[in-house]
Amino acid sequence: MISQVFILSSKGDHLIYKDFRGEAGSDVVGIFYEKVTALTGDQPPVVMSHKDLHFVHVRQGGLYWVATTTADSSPFTIIEFLNRFTALVKDYCGSLSEKSVQMNFALIYELLDEVVDYGYIQTTSSDVLKNFIQTEAVSSRPFSLFDLSNVGLFGAETQQSKVAPSSAATRPIQSSREQGGKSEIFVDVIERMSVVIGTNGVLMKADVEGEIRVKCYMPSCSEMRIGLNEEFSIGKSQLRGYGAAVRVDECSFHQAVRLDEFDSHRILRLCPSQGEQTVMQYQLSDDLPSAPPFRLFPTIERDSGGRLLMYLKLRCDLPPKSAAINVCATIPVPKGSVSLSQELSSPDQSAELKLQNRAVDWKIPRFPGGTQLSALFKLEVPGLSSASMLEVGPVGLSFELPKLTVTGLQIRFLRLSPIQPGPSQRWVRYVTHSDSYTIRI
């Protein structure tokens, strides 16, 4: 049971406030905001209490999405509801931001009205909801250079016309009505990898979580068939075909996916509903098909002047055609480090000493596969002792690998049947993010 739902901007402005049961006063919003901001730390607790009232909140799109309850209801239900609700708002408004919520408050009220009745969650399925929702979304997408600059992000600079801007996937699902039924389908294969590499360069732990997400703008969607690699296999024992198999440990599917042809041909069949949904999720642990994308060769010593010298060589083991972007290596440094002097191999890189984190951030905007970069950092550390040398901690890397999946999962084809009458466009993109990529020194 949910007493109230409200959305706050990060500055504490009321964006949406709806009371379902009349159990608590309207000053709760203020109380909540005080509680949230009073706390330090990277994340306030999910559930907070004030007298008899319990606040459950999630943070998405820079907004606080809060539900309150007085009764003992499952916290999972409320969290899951808030997550679904944000997904719905995203589907209907195109994107999640203070602005889009402000512009579409009528729509969001309508959604809330249909989704929750007297604190009870009725349905969050966008298929059912689209029958009730009348209000059109107001799209708040200003033209921006940002979109154009992002094009290169997904490669193929030479064929710009064939690449959809990344913003294309962030528009409200219902606007397709007014845009003359421009039907598009976006399929994203997103993988997140967390890796731990030991001091001796041995891969200690590797974990890849992937998902296939479909975002559908078809007004009347028919059946869609997604073909995966034929060699795709699940579990350790099963091996299909010859050559390099694409293997995952586990996978689970959205309930709308039919798997008649999955066993024989690795084809997922589904009738996507409008909006975004995760069609398939899979995990792979410990047994990567290829080498981990980055290796680090550090040399750390103390020079005669009492400075700490860190000579880092970072090698990118991706295939030569692909490249990593937005690479950032975070190197923890001893306490009391004062200043940093650096020698980097190319001008587009940068490095910075973050004093409050006690770490050096080394940023590499683009890092092609098969290459190697090196950097020399000299740190002024007053009172450097051998003990503090040990404080040069594990290096964390964050990066993005466009057009690449670490598991090797590919989409062979994407077919719509029956063939759509109008022009329909299908987009597929792959990306791998780093979740937690740690190299111990």
Binding site: D19, V46, V58, D72, S74, Y109, G235, Q255, Q281, P394
Partner: protein, 907 residues
């Protein structure tokens, strides 16, 4: 603008008003103007007016009444969506005067033919209840009625209402228990959560504890016990009983047999572990944890670990629950140890929880890996996390004796860490560890004494001082020196440190008064004039105690005993230890405090209440009639579930919609299919739901037939392989879609969706089991030749139970004569080789004008040869023969759709 004629203007105006509400501004002045628009035709305007109305109706009751008539009209609207929304808004208006109107509307809507409206009615119940609790009795009636509803759409909502209005009326559930279990998988996910929670409570009151015997075995063998940890908190009295019973004989206790309904619940919830919704997964997990036998609880571990890959908020709550579970059942999560390793991107609170889980999971075999993990965590930059890690190491060390020294050494190394916080935390932990075996580690104590110069964290300083005081006999030289230093800095110390300095001084005075007498007095004097009264009190108290004077002679004798008594080592415990009395997955569990409305999970009953209350009486009466009753679906599903325990058959999650949709396209029927992660499961998912259901119900009918077959006899033989040649396959039941004439103004598809969800089973009545009168009758004996006796027969197309190879022949004897016929039987059977006959039982008496029926079985050996025999009465004998026409030699077998198609292709 609201008075304007144009809808667009009205819409704009309403949007502005709603925006005001959204920002928390008061817009109640506009009430009259807005209410006027409630009858507006434009649906967009209307909805915004509703939003406004619900918000302000309570404040302006009189004006709100103006709108009531509009809603009453709306309740009669042919469109189900309008009916539902009218009811929803009507029930949301919190005006006491309209309670009777609401009551009436709810009652009416509860018997509405649209499940969507019934669902809304269910939602309206708690609203009315909160407005006027006196209506409870009437509302319970409505709930009872809605509970009996067979639509999945309604089930979730009505259970929500039940939980809010009358959770104590558990008796209402009895009749619906099995239905709810069977529907569960098709219910909307939010409904599932509520139903599962309710059923957990229900099961706790109605079934016996499945673990009674197991906990007993454990006690007997002792081997398993250590594995699960000794803190099994089976009910105290139970355990006592067991102990008493143990001596006489194990065999005396009757083995625990799980109630089939209990089993049904567990079986039907299991596939939901695959659900996409974390709330559902957690609900099932807690159900299994609280209800399932120990051996089966393991299945939830995998599902919970899967949740760890979800949003961080979900992770947080899952880990809380996992932490509690790991205390009770460690073995369950051990295989997933690696999943709880910490990632550098996790927020602190999740890291701390993961540590907690790892610590709980640690045992002799995996401790080395865990400790190695911990070592790297200490390097982390997150200070709270590092502190928590050190504490975790301490707990591992106390729990597992073998690694205590290793841990201690590791912690001592940490003392040289440059980070004060790390050192402080280590000191505190080392102190706790040392208390267990102080004599071995005097060098560590010495080392720590040196640290007093550097460490500034009060808690750590206090710990060191306490340690030195406690074990001053192990470090006789250093202790006085430390006291000297401390006495110097006494005035600048924190309170907690000061207290420990006094303690140290007192202890030293008692053991080594020669060296420390003056120092002690100096410290006590300083303390006497301290600002803190606690310290002043302590100083006075100690002075009286240790410094011998005439008055306090008696006490000071015992001072040494008081101060230097052996203290028991502290037990480092998990903070989650006491949480398990809260139901898992509940808010109270998360907060570790009772939240409002928390209902304690009842204990298992001593003896099971009567299980027959869950029986549905309609069963027998309907079965006798012979039509396929609506409930058959339930029981046939039940049976199917029983047969398919091994394969979780998730694909029928929305199977209900199959029959209606498949009228248009076959492939649609499996729209709801989803298979679990394993590929072996996906195999079973490929079978079409429709054919499954069709054949299932046939099979069900078959079973019934078999029961009825006691009276029928006679048989022939037929080799199995050749069945194909002559037999026709039973016709698949033709699904007849239910079309309800509903005026759809928004979307047709929704209506069909909703209708499809209903469980009405008429569509499934299979054609094959139509009453035998519909079959073609053949004449065996005409009444002229039979002198008044006429015999007809037909091939009933049902299996002949005494012999599977025989074809059942249904005979109907009619006595058209004026006199009775007696001793009707058969004789002198002449058959081709290989054929066999099972005779029908003799009919003793067939009075004039009456008819009698009997069944015989003939094995025609797949030939169309006739079976010749004599039909004898008490006076006459008639030569008759039965010759099977092509197409009648068959028996029902059941195939899945795929098999059917395959066979079809072959023949």
């Amino acid at each position: 603008m609201l008075d304007s004629n144009k809808d667009s203007l009205k819409l704009e105006a309403m949007k502005r008003i709603v925006a005001m509400i959204a920002r928390g501004k008061n817009a109640s002045d506009l009430f009259p103007a807005v209410v006027k628009n409630v009858a507006c035709k434009n649906i967009e305007v209307k909805k915004l007016v509703y939003v406004y109305l619900v918000r302000y109706a309570e404040e302006q009751q009189d004006l709100a009444l103006l709108s009531i008539s509009t809603f009453q009209r709306g309740l009669k609207d042919p469109n189900q969506l309008i009916r539902a929304s009218a009811l929803r808004v009507l029930s949301s208006i919190r005006v006491t005067i309209i309670v009777p109107i609401m009551m009436l509307a709810i009652k009416e809507a509860a018997s509405d033919m649209s499940p969507y409206v019934r669902k809304t009615a269910a939602h309206a119940i708690p609203k009315l209840y909160s407005l006027d609790p006196e209506q409870k009795d009437q509302l319970i009636e409505v709930i009872e009625k809605l509970l009996a509803d067979k639509t999945t759409l309604v089930a979730g909502s009505v259970v929500m209402a039940f939980e809010e209005v009358c959770p104590e009326r558990i008796d209402l559930i009895h009749k619906n228990y099995r239905k709810l279990c069977n529907l569960l998988i098709d219910v909307e996910e939010w409904g599932q959560v509520v139903i599962i929670n309710m059923l957990t409570r229900y099961a706790r009151t109605q079934f016996l504890n499945p673990n009674i015997n197991e906990s007993l075995l454990e006690e007997g063998s002792g081997g398993d016990k250590t594995f699960y940890g000794s803190d099994e908190d089976e009910d105290e009295d139970e355990e006592e009983k067991e102990k008493n019973a143990e001596a006489p004989a194990m065999a005396k206790r009757k083995p625990y047999v799980m109630d089939p309904d209990h089993r049904l619940l567990l079986r039907n919830t299991k596939p939901l572990l695959q659900s996409r919704n974390a709330a559902v997964v957690m609900a099932v997990a807690q159900l299994y944890f609280h209800l399932a036998p120990k051996a089966e609880v393991g299945v939830i571990a995998k599902a919970l670990v899967r949740l760890l890959r979800s949003h961080s908020e979900v992770q947080y709550v899952v880990l809380q629950n996992v932490a509690t579970m790991t205390i009770k059942r460690r073995g369950m999560f051990e295989p997933y140890l690696k999943s709880f390793y910490i990632r550098s991107t996790d927020p602190t609170q999740i890291k701390v929880l993961k540590l907690e889980v790892l610590t709980n999971l640690a045992n002799e075999t995996n401790i080395s890996t865990i400790l190695r993990e911990f070592q790297t965590y200490i390097k982390s930059m997150d200070k709270d996390f590092v502190a928590a890690t050190i504490q975790a190491i301490g707990r591992c060390a106390t729990n597992i004796g073998e690694v205590r020294d290793t841990c201690l050494n590791g912690l001592v190394q940490l003392l040289s860490n440059r980070d004060e916080l790390v050192v402080a935390e280590s000191v505190v932990v080392i102190k706790k560890l040392l208390q267990m075996q102080p004599e071995k580690h005097s060098d560590i104590i010495k080392h720590m004494a040196k640290l007093t110069d550097n460490i500034q964290v009060p808690m750590a300083r206090a710990s060191i001082l306490w340690l030195i005081g406690e074990y001053c006999e192990h470090v006789p030289k250093i202790a006085p020196d430390v006291l000297r230093k401390m006495a110097k800095s006494f005035t600048n110390e924190e309170d907690i440190v000061k207290l420990q300095i006094i303690n140290l001084a007192a202890k030293l005075y008692l053991t080594n008064s020669k060296q420390t007498k003056l120092l002690t007095q100096y410290v006590l004097n300083l303390a006497k004039y301290d600002q803190n009264y606690d310290i002043r009190d302590r100083a006075r108290f100690i002075r009286q105690l240790i410094v011998p004077t005439e008055k306090s002679g008696a006490l000071s004798k015992y001072a040494k005993k008081l101060f230097l008594a052996l203290k028991p080592a502290p037990v480092l415990e998990s903070p989650f230890k006491d949480r398990d009395h809260f139901q898992l997955g509940s808010l109270s569990h998360l907060l570790n405090a009772k939240a409002g409305g928390y209902q304690e999970l009842p204990d298992w009953p001593e003896a099971a209440p009567d299980p027959s209350v869950r029986n549905v009486e309609v069963k027998d009466s309907v079965r006798a009639v012979g039509t396929v009753p609506e409930w058959t679906k339930c029981s046939s599903r039940e049976k199917r579930k029983e047969k398919k325990v091994e394969k979780p058959f998730y694909s029928d999650s929305e199977g209900e919609s199959g029959p209606t949709e498949s009228a248009d396209s076959e492939s649609d029927s499996a729209s709801g299919s989803e298979s679990g992660s394993g590929s072996e499961e996906s195999g079973s998912g490929s079978e079409s739901v429709e054919s499954e259901e069709g054949s299932e119900s046939e099979e069900e009918e078959e079973d019934e037939e078999e029961k009825n077959k006691k009276k029928k006899k006679k048989e022939l033989k037929k080799p199995v392989q050749e069945i194909k040649l002559l037999s026709l396959f039973p016709v698949e039941p033709a699904p007849s879609p239910q079309v309800t004439p509903v005026n759809t103004f928004l979307s047709n598809s929704l209506v069909t969706d909703l209708e499809g969800l209903s469980l009405s089973d008429t569509v499934l009545s299979p054609a094959t089991i139509a009453p035998s009168s519909a079959l073609k009758n053949y004449e065996l004996l005409h009444r002229i030749t039979g002198e008044g006796l006429s015999v007809e027969y037909c091939f009933s197309r049902q299996p002949f139970s005494p012999d599977a190879n025989m074809v059942a022949v249904q005979m109907q004897f009619t006595n058209n004569a004026t006199s009775d016929t007696k001793n009707l039987h058969m004789e002198d059977v002449k058959l081709q080789s290989g054929m066999r006959v099972k005779e029908f039982p003799e009919i003793e008496l067939l009075p004039a004008g009456e008819t009698a029926a009997a069944v015989m079985g003939i094995d025609f050996c797949d030939s169309t040869q006739a079976a010749n025999f004599q039909l004898c009465t008490h006076t006459k004998k008639f030569f008759v023969s039965i010759q099977p026409p092509v197409g009648e030699l068959m028996r029902p077998i059941f195939l899945t759709e795929n098999e059917f198609k395959k066979e079809q292709g072959e023949s």
